[in-house]
Amino acid sequence: MQKALKKYFPIFALPTLVAFLIAFIVPFFMGIYLSFCKFRTVTNAKFNGIANYTKAFANKDFLNALIFTVEFTVVAVITINVLSFLLALLLTKGIKGTNLFRTVFFMPNLIGGIVLGYIWQLIINGVLMKVVGHDLTYNASYGFWGLIILMNWQQIGYMMIIYVAGIQNVPSDLIEAAKIDGASSWQILKSVTIPMVMSSFTICLFLTLTNSFKLFDQNLALTAGLPSRKTAMLALDIYNTFYGRTGWEGVGQAKAVVFFIIVAVISLTQLVVTRSKEVEN
């Protein structure tokens, strides 16, 4: 079988491999190389060592975006996971209309980031104008909390579904036994349900972590970084550096490499955590 498959390998894999080479492998390594170059277009690149990286880390916008992104990610991960877990608990009580609720809560997840951004821009601006008389572009913290609300609206339903699947996998005899032993519902939640859904927690934690950290479309549509780039997250700052500032393409690429390294570390941590969990089980 191996021999026949090897003969047919090009028919099966070549189209994908060529596309993979064009859209990923070549751009990736070219990107690493260009992060050490000064260039306007790719063809006139000149090697200039780590100058782009020092420029990137001396760039106020970049540091601001890094801090904003980290703060946003922390708040988004906590709020989304707490709320979606609570919602999952309510949706596994076997009450009427559960399917309808699930359908409604999940729906925002399918709407694209650009559309979401403009929906919430209308709502948040409407509320802000009424309450404080200014819109989203007035204060960076408005944009911050606006993005948090938007992300919660988009992601709660998704994470809820994963938690529901986890909670339903808890064997019911385990809960019965705890009840017979006289455990209160809080004790059951704390000592039975939560430990049993730890793998759902890991999945949701990392999903929300990477989704929040890499956010771009929602950021662009809701605030576009306003006021004066103060609400630009890392992905948007990289975009602005590439396409908004002539002569800074190399710095943009250096920022992109730093961004990639952070995302890769998060993903690898997830892999290690998931692997070690599998061993325990």
């Binding site: 994908t16 662009l220 975009y239």
Partner: protein, 292 residues
Amino acid sequence: MARTKKQKELDMVDSPLVSKGQGIAIGIFLTVLAILFLAPILIVLLNSFKSRLYISDAPFSLPNSKTFVGLSNYTDGAVKIGFFQSFGWSLFITVASVLVIVLLTAMTAWVITRIKSKFTSTLYFLFSFAMIVPFQMVMFTMTFVANRLHLDNPIGIIVIYLGFGSGLSVFMFSGFVKAIPIAMEEAAMIDGCNPLQTFFNVVFPMLKPTAITIAILNAMWVWNDYLLPYLILGTERKTIPIAIQYLRGGYGSIDMGAMMAMLVLAIIPIIIFYLTCQKYIIKGVVAGAVKG
């Protein structure tokens, strides 16, 4: 329709675990929450019938005889951004990319999983690696390569989607191929099937559940994607997200009437798709999350 145990669990129709009073309280709370969840979309819908002058100032008031403009936001907006062309481009690019990705990455995943060599395990590693690389890392150089190879058009972008999307899809298909017994494939080959026949008659039918999951994940990605098509295609041939963003324009003020109407038009196809394939979408998304 016969339902499996698993489906029943997913439907959550177990007997109530709470008292009747508690059940009603939870029901009321969830109903309020569901209304809050739907409110943003309903508010956009209401505003899409109001004159653009009355949207930003009072987004929460209902249209009245002074502010109601009928469908003119829809007609103006659709003409302004070419919504129906955009819908066509989005549909074409999404359907074509998803078909190409599902078919070609399934084929790739099968051979690189079944052939055991240093080369194939390197490829598997590279595909898995591609999953964790954010788009910003490659966006500038990818755009350059795409332009150089004249892939900056609605056909060429399918190649780009295949290439950038192949990481996750090959990874997920490979995981499933590893789990299916090799004996059936060997039997088919001994009976005289060549690898292509074996793949399409034996392997691919078994991969169908994974294929649906991968199709849904990729469809959601491509349909909603903004930056990649914007950089590759520009604004000459706009997909829906590009068309919506295009409404914001430069520094001028946004035509809020057209914006509301176009947001509604952008959401309608998603809601129809969701309500018709809900079962597959939710299952697919969960499966994708757990395996990816």
